[in-house]
């Protein structure tokens, strides 16, 4: 099967990256192969959401993205932070990955803001959650029935 793929590639002069992958990748990575060369949103274990052109993967779900950006959404504001040209994510840090529907990418309710503003909003949200956390702990201590 591999020989066939190679012969075709030579004949056409330009292989499709996906085709080459398909010929040489074991079954358990086929799920990801279908998504190659599409814009994907990947959620990492640390909570980051990265959007980029999905270029490569392997059986550990190590992923390669081209021209990715980090999409940060806080409340009604969002910001896309560019992350350079090539990004290689180690598979064990991946939670999930989904194809981004170009038309529905940004809900109309969201407002684009600058990186500085979104950082401020993130800080505010973090502090709010910290306060909420400490308050809940205090209430817990009171042991209200």
């Amino acid at each position: 099967m591999d020989g066939q793929g190679q012969g075709q590639g030579q004949g056409q002069g330009q292989d499709r990256l996906a085709n080459r992958h398909q010929a040489r990748t074991p079954l358990h990575a086929k799920a990801l192969i279908e998504e190659l060369d599409h814009k994907q949103l990947v959620v990492l274990r640390d909570g980051r959401k990265i959007v980029g052109l999905f270029r490569s993967c392997d059986q550990f779900a190590n992923l390669v993205f081209q021209n990715p950006y980090e999409r940060i959404i806080v409340g009604k504001q969002y910001c896309d932070l560019p992350l350079g040209s090539i990004y290689l994510v180690r598979g064990e840090n991946v939670v999930m990955m989904g194809r981004v529907d170009e038309g529905r990418e940004i809900p109309s309710t969201l407002q684009l803001v600058s990186p500085a503003e979104i950082r401020k909003a993130q800080q505010a949200e973090k502090e709010e959650q910290l306060i909420r956390g400490t308050m809940l702990k205090r209430l817990d201590f009171l042991d209200l029935e």
Partner: protein, 94 residues
């Protein structure tokens, strides 16, 4: 391999996957692999407001290692068959 085979019988059914990061996603089970990585179609995030990023995503791939629970429709599961298969696997493994 038991659960891999088991999930293969559930493709096309609607399931809810709860992840270790507390994200819960409902969708149609499209495929599963030997690592129990899951591909879901037509996904709907359970708490949509908390995860606005995923509104644009219709199909997703979930790494098996991050799954906490998979909620299945009861009528899709033949528990007797599952019991037998479990006992067989246990016998073969011993």
């Amino acid at each position: 391999m038991l659960f891999y085979s088991f999930f293969k019988t559930l493709t096309g059914k609607e399931v809810t996957v709860e992840l270790k990061n507390d994200l819960a996603i409902t969708g149609i089970l499209h495929s599963v692999d030997q690592y129990l990585n899951i591909k879901l179609n037509e996904i709907k995030v359970v708490d949509e407001a908390k995860h606005p990023h995923l509104l644009a995503v219709k199909n997703c791939f979930i790494r098996g290692s991050v799954v906490r629970y998979i909620q299945l429709p009861q009528d899709a599961v033949d528990t007797d068959l599952l019991h037998d298969a479990t006992r067989r696997e246990a016998r073969n493994a011993a």
